[in-house]
Amino acid sequence: MAPEERAFQQKIDADVKIEPKDWMPEGYRKTLIRQISQHAHSEIVGQLPEGNWITRAPTLERKAILLAKVQDEAGHGLYLYCAAETLGISRDQMTEQLLSGKAKYSSIFNYPTLTWADIGAIGWLVDGAAIMNQVPLQRCSYGPYARAMIRICKEESFHQRQGYDIMMKLCRGTPEQKEMAQDALDRWWRPALMMFGPPDDQSVHSAQSMAWKIKLNSNDELRQKFVDQTVPQAEYLGLKIPDPDLKWNEARGHYDFGELDWSEFYEVIKGNGPCNRERMEARRKAWEDGAWFREGLMAHARKKEARRMAAE
C-alpha cells in the first residue's frame, strides 16, 4: 500500500471525513461516483411511479402532500448530483449514462403504481427500506455524500410517515379500500425486500466498500432489520404480510422469512421488469423534448454576455 493510500485509510479508520480536494484512490472515487449517481438517478426515476397519481390523487390535501413529496425527490436528486460532481463528473455526463442505460437506478421503480394504495405502500415500504439503507450512510466516509444523506434522511422519514398514514386511512376505510391496501402490500413486499440487494453471499464489492466506509452494513443485516421493523407495522394496520414462512423466531430475536426469488430481481436489473422500458422512455422523452429549452437558455446567456462585453 502506498503511503498516501495508507494515510487515506487511516483517516477513514479514524472517522475523519474525506473531502473533495483530498487525495483518494481511483477505486474509491469510481465506486462512489457509481453509488451516488445511481442513488441520484433513483430519485429522478422515482418521481415517475408516484407522479403517476398526482393528477388522480383523491383529495386536495393528498394531492399537495404527494406533490411535495415528488418535489423532495427531485431535490434529493439535485443534492446527490452535486455530491457526485465533487468527484469530477458532470450532471450531463451522469444523465447521459442514465439515458444510455449504462448507469442503473433502483429496480423498485420498475414496478407500476396501479392503485392509490400503491402510493401508500411506496411511502411506507419503499421509503422505509430506503431510510434503512441511508441512515448508516449519514456516517459514510465521504463528506459531501454523508452531508447530503443527513438532509435526505430527515425528509424521507417524513415521507414514510405520510405513506403509512395513507395505508392507515385505507385500512380504517371501506372494505374495498382495505382490500386495495392489502393488494398493494402483496405486490410491493418482495420488491421492497430486494431493495437491500442480493444476499450477502452473492454480493460483490462489499468487503472493499465496507473497509472504505461507503457501505456500513451488510445487505442481509439491513433486510432483517427492515422486516423486524415492518411486520409489527403491518399487524397494526391489520394487513397480512404475503409470506407463509414469516414467523417470529424467539431464539434469534428476529422474524424468520421466506426465500426471495432472486431471478426476478436479476431480470428487472437486466431491463426486463414491468416498467423498465416506460421509465427510460419517459426520461428520454423529457430530456429530448426539453433540448430546445436548455439550448434557448444558453443562447440567451451567450447573447447577454456578448452585450455586456460590447457595452464595456
Binding site: 407522479g51 439535485l78 386511512k169 385505507l170 374495498e176 423534448d289
Partner: protein, 251 residues
Amino acid sequence: MSDAALEEFALRMGDNCLILGQRVSAWCGYAPALEEDIAMANVALDLIGQAKLWLALAGALEGKGRDADALAFLRDARAFRNCLLVEQPNGDYGQTLMRQFLFDAWHVPMLEGLAASREERVAAIAAKTAKEAAYHRDRSADLVIRLGDGGEESRRRMQTALDLLWPFAGELLAADETEARLAGEGVIPDLADIAKKWTAFVEPALEEATLVPPKDAPVRKGGKQGLHTEALGYVLAEMQWLQRAYPGATW
C-alpha cells in the same frame, strides 16, 4: 353584499388555481431540467393550496356543507368557473410557461387588490398568497424573456405559444356583472385597473422577450360563466375519477 356573488367569485378564484395547478402538476418528472421539475411542483403546490382556501370559502358561503374537496371532485364541467386560459393543454414547455406568465401577470395585481378587500375572509386569503404569486410571476416572466430573446427555436416556440394563448388573456381582464357589482362594493378591485397593471407588466416583458402579441385576436371567454372548451372535461375525468369511483370513502 350578496353572498351569491361572493360565492361565485370565490369559485372562480379557486377553480383558476385548481385547474391550473392540476395542469401544471402533470409536468412532475417530465420537465426539461431537474430545476424545472422542482419549480413546476412548487407552482402546482402553491396553486393547489390556494384552491383549497378559495373553495373552502365558496363552500362556506354556499352553506350546503360542501367542503373544498366536494367542490373540486364532485362538480361537472358546467359548474366550474375557471377562465379558459388555465384549462388549455400543457402543450410544449414553452406553452406551459406562457400560460403561466399571462395568468401570473393577472394573478398578482388581483391578489394585491384583494388584500384590501372590505370582505375580511377574502382579504385574508389574498394577503396570505400574494407573495408566492409574485414569486411565480417573476420566475415565469424571467423565463419567457430568456427563451423569447434566446435561440431561434426557442423564440419561435415562444411566439407560437403567445399566438396560441393571447386570445384567452382577455377573459381575465374584463369584468362581468358579478365582478362589476363586487368591485362597486369594494370587495374586489376594479378589473379595468387590474387590466392596466397587467398590460404595464406584460408589454415590456414581451418587448424584452422580442415577442409580438397577435393583432386583433378576438377574446375567447366563457369559462367564468361555465362555458368551457372541450379540454376541461378530460381534465376533470382524470382528476375526479378516484373520488367518484369510491363514493363516500375517506382518504
